[in-house]
Symmetry: C2
Subunit: 172 residues, 2 copies
């Protein structure tokens, strides 16, 4: 049991680094450094690709690790991209901006909760929040100099819908 | 099954309102409106006291609801208070500020994950993140006009420790 706990420290550390990038992203947005904020989300996405793999490689997958992973994913790929988009362009859109900045993490939380209570059979139902958050970060980087209010808003609403949808995606 | 899903909409709505207050708290911090940011966290804490009760009252407790509750709690009582404290005083503390703003939600995430994988027998192990986040909001309200960098930092570190500690607290 103790060996299992100490082994699981390695993948859990990756999960905490993922959360650290998520928090740094929000802090960079607070300082209006939107490009750095987006880069933090992309680094978090890289971390996220490795924690599960490393857990399986070290045979250290644990229920605690899976719960932690979901919790940290919501910060780095739900809250951080929404706050980045808020600082970058949603802030100018009035009530529509408020709806999108709140809807995106709600859709992400629902997607994560549903994933945690259903059996995973190598097929995602709805796009993973990691992918949605990563795409929002990329969109923000592309449009920082020249925000596309309408297109970027529709893009975030569409990603929110895809997260809660029942479309099936094969894991790659 | 469908009746169960439609019944669980009521407590889940409270959970989503909790998350909404958490996101609004972060947005208010972005606009340097620290008092409103703290009030949002306090409102989220009020919501959080009722979603579980309402779920039990309507006999609509669900595994999905519990997962959602944890995810939203991390935003409203882990991320939002940390970001509020960042804007209010941690921003002036250099590397110590970065450590605290990241440690607080990490401790909260660990507390929530541990809670989700252990059997609850009417006794909390470590203080709940809801209570820790609520206390940070109250501390920020009290010290907005006159920040106590040292005391407030020690307070946040102490709460982070209490969340991951194995002290037992009776549920009231």
């Amino acid at each position: 049991m103790n060996a299992k706990i100490s082994k699981s420290v390695i993948p859990n550390s990756f999960t905490f680094i993922n959360l650290t990038f998520g928090m740094l992203s929000i802090i960079f947005t607070l300082n209006s450094r939107f490009q750095m904020s987006a880069i933090m989300i992309i680094l978090a996405a890289l971390m996220d690709r490795y924690d599960g793999r490393i857990a399986r490689k070290f045979n250290a997958s644990s229920q605690l690790g899976k719960e932690l992973d979901s919790l940290c994913d919501l910060i780095s790929f739900g809250v951080a991209p929404a706050i980045l988009s808020w600082g970058n362009f949603l802030i100018n859109l009035g009530i529509i901006g408020y709806i999108i900045v709140i809807l995106f993490p709600i859709a992400g939380a629902y997607r994560l909760a549903r994933f945690n209570v259903t059996q995973f059979n190598n097929c995602f139902i709805g796009i993973p929040i990691t992918f949605a958050g990563f795409l929002v970060a990329i969109d923000n980087i592309i449009t920082i100099a020249n925000p596309h209010y309408f297109l970027s808003s529709i893009f975030m609403l569409f990603l929110s819908y895809l997260m809660v949808s029942h479309f099936k995606f094969k894991k790659v």
